[in-house]
């Protein structure tokens, strides 16, 4: 165990972790029996709304929080009893937490110095890290003299300098403005691939999670909702929460008409049955929801025989897309998104009657 073979071993194994704050009636359950495995050399993201327990889980791996129950393994070694300074993991903090009284170089060298490395090694390694984050000329500056983006890079270099087995990142991009955030996403992913270090990344921003991660763990109210690649959690959400939290979606009440091997025929109101992929088991006659992404539907002028019709509430121009809010006759509000590739192709305007067309394979049946 403990051998760092890319892609083959488990970097972090979380087993039945429970975390409870406080005692008795006043206690709060932050993590409820969470188990997951993070592979070596993986960019793994913990995604969820604030208060879902993702940061608590990260802090448990870092050693800042004690588990109430459960086991944490790091490359096969049980670590949940080790203090933070004995764990070969490093953290990039949300507000960076750079030491204000030290220069950029001293900040980056801190971990190496604590590990008792030689002076020459510390200096060359720290300089190498500065170059990695493209701050070569800033070695003698103080953190207060740097911009937010530069501070973020220093925090990253400081955490990478001791060559941790796992790098923990606690919403590191949330304090940056949009342009910088987008640039840093690419850069972070690049650094992760170059260094081969396992990244555990915490965020509430689903776009961030989708663009960078090898795998995403979606969390809500202290529980794991789904683990999968970006494609899996977006295209095959396991439940309503995942469907709603990752990207935008529309939920329609349906009745299951027929169950096949890997799909189900569902009817919306008295419309024609729609073929849906299914999350979990279902039976004929069951009621449930189907989730359909706004970009997988279109609106058109109604023709005779169209079953799903409604009134266009309003059109919202979004630059690349136009969003159409449709009020269906059965009372459901639907959002449809159409790319503005051509001259307005919607063919309908606010107040018009319109028919809703669902792309083949777009619907997913969620059984809660």
């Amino acid at each position: 165990m403990g051998v760092n073979e890319p892609g083959s071993s488990t970097a972090v194994a979380i087993t039945n972790i429970v975390k409870r704050y406080g005692i008795g009636d006043a206690s709060v359950l932050a993590l409820n029996d969470v188990s997951l495995e993070i592979q070596d050399n993986e960019f793994f993201t913990l995604l969820g709304p604030s208060g879902c327990g993702k940061t608590t889980l990260l802090r448990i791996i870092a050693g800042f929080e004690q588990v109430t129950a459960g086991v944490v393994h790091l490359y096969g070694e049980e670590i949940e009893q080790l203090p933070a300074n004995k764990r070969p993991v490093n953290t990039v903090f949300q507000q960076y937490a750079l030491f204000p009284h030290m220069s950029v170089l001293e900040n980056i060298a801190f971990g190496l110095r604590m590990l008792g490395k030689g002076k020459a090694e510390i200096e060359s390694r720290a300089k190498q890290m500065l170059d990695l984050v493209q701050l070569g000329g800033f070695a003698d500056r103080r953190p207060a003299q740097l911009s937010g983006g530069q501070q973020q890079r220093v925090a990253l270099a400081r955490a990478l300098a001791p060559a941790p087995k796992v790098l923990l990142l606690d919403e590191p991009l949330s304090a940056l403005d949009l342009k910088l955030r987008q640039a840093m996403r690419v850069e972070l992913k690049q650094i992760q691939e170059d260094t081969g270090i396992t990244f555990v990344f915490v965020t509430h921003d689903q776009e961030e999670a989708l663009t960078m991660s090898d795998r995403i763990a979606v969390m809500s109210s202290g529980e794991l909702q789904q683990i999968g690649t970006a494609h899996e959690v977006y295209e095959e959400p396991r439940n309503k929460f995942v469907a709603g939290f990752i990207g935008e979606t529309n939920l329609l009440d349906v009745t299951v008409e027929e169950v096949r091997a890997d799909a189900a025929m569902c009817r919306v109101g008295d419309g024609a049955p729609i073929a849906c992929s299914v999350a979990g088991n279902t039976t004929k006659g069951a009621r449930g929801h189907i989730s359909i992404r706004p970009e997988r539907m279109s609106v058109s002028k109604p023709k005779r025989g169209d079953k799903l019709t409604g009134i266009v509430d309003r059109l919202v121009y979004l630059g690349t897309d136009t969003q159409c809010l449709l009020h269906l006759d059965n009372g459901t509000e639907i959002t449809v998104r159409a790319q503005n590739a051509h001259e307005s192709t919607l063919g309908v305007g606010p107040g018009d009657r319109a028919a809703l067309n669902i792309d083949a394979g777009a619907a997913r049946l969620l059984v809660d």
């Binding site: 800042f64 933070a84 490093n90 953290t91 220069s103 207060a144």
Partner: protein, 310 residues
């Protein structure tokens, strides 16, 4: 006057608003001038005058007061001058008594301040209030109480004997230790409050970052927490050291002849008819000069640290 005191408001704003600013500043300037600068100037002038035998001064220029502090010219003033060690000794003793009191306050005050600053916000106020409660009682009363507590037959010795720690009373009263205890007790909140203010603003993620980067608890304290809250520690040390240096209540009531401090020396010069006003004023000026030098050294170090970008 308004224009001279108006560094930031140049240009168009200096007219009406400049005058207004001058008027609004006037009350504070008058108070500071009248109650702070004027007495100090008076003492400075008095220190260069000739003493009157019934207290008070004769308006005649003289360096006798400073001369008396430094030189011994015999009983009738006609012998060749030797260095007068008595006052220098008192002065030196005052400095290290104050220094020990400051260290005591720091050693006890820092953990106290840290403890309070790390309590939940709701209970912090209560703790702070508790720290200040003794200071609702007059300093003289508190010092006298301290005297009763630590005297040979006082509760301190009685308890120690009762619990078998000692056989015979330990003699604390009238010693340096008693004076240091008194000073420590008098000025502890001046240490606790500024350190509390620093620690309360301290970002505890810095400690987590240090721990995360393999620092032990002790290293985290020494290399991250202490340097970050240093301004509060320095402020606390100055606020304890300066009044301790000039204190006279604690040395008078708790100390003896061998613990005489400069504050008591000055006090005596102005009490009753036996005093020597110019000498007291000169001693005050020497004390003031030493304090100012210490503060200036500190201020210069701070500005140097700031130049380095701290």
């Amino acid at each position: 006057m308004a224009g001279a005191l108006n560094p930031g408001g140049g240009g168009a704003a200096s007219g009406v608003f400049g005058a207004l600013r001058g008027w609004l500043l006037a009350p504070s300037l008058i108070v500071i001038g009248f109650f702070l600068l004027a007495p100090v100037c008076m003492m400075l002038i008095y220190s260069f005058l000739t003493k009157d035998f019934r207290g008070g001064v004769i308006w005649e220029f003289s360096l006798a007061a400073y001369d008396q502090f430094i030189f011994d010219r015999g009983l009738f003033g006609d012998e060749p001058p030797k260095i007068e060690w008595i006052y220098i000794t008192i002065f030196w003793r005052s400095i290290w008594q104050a220094a020990i009191a400051t260290i005591l306050c720091l050693v006890i005050g820092f953990p106290t301040a840290y403890f309070i600053a790390t309590r939940p916000a709701a209970t912090r106020t209560v703790w702070l209030f508790l720290v200040t409660i003794p200071y609702w009682v007059n300093l003289l009363i508190r010092t006298v109480s301290m005297k009763f507590l630590i005297r040979d037959t006082g509760p301190l010795n009685e308890w120690l004997i009762q619990f078998g720690v000692i056989d015979t009373p330990i003699h604390v009263i009238n010693t340096n230790i008693a004076v240091q205890l008194g000073l420590f007790y008098s000025y502890l909140p001046f240490m606790v409050l500024p350190i509390y203010a620093s620690v309360e603003r301290y970002n505890f993620a810095l400690s987590e970052a240090a721990r995360d980067l393999y620092a032990s608890r002790w290293t985290t304290l020494r290399e991250v927490l202490l340097p970050t809250v240093k301004p509060g520690i320095v402020a606390g040390c100055i606020l304890v050291f300066v009044p301790s240096l000039g204190a006279f209540l604690a040395p008078d009531l708790l100390g003896g002849a061998k613990t005489f401090m400069i504050g008591s020396l000055i006090e005596e010069q102005f009490k009753g008819n036996a005093g020597n006003w110019p000498f007291g004023a000169a001693a005050s000026m020497i004390l003031l000069t030493v304090v100012l030098i210490v503060l200036m050294i500190y201020a210069r170090q701070q500005s140097r640290a700031e130049e380095r970008g701290h």
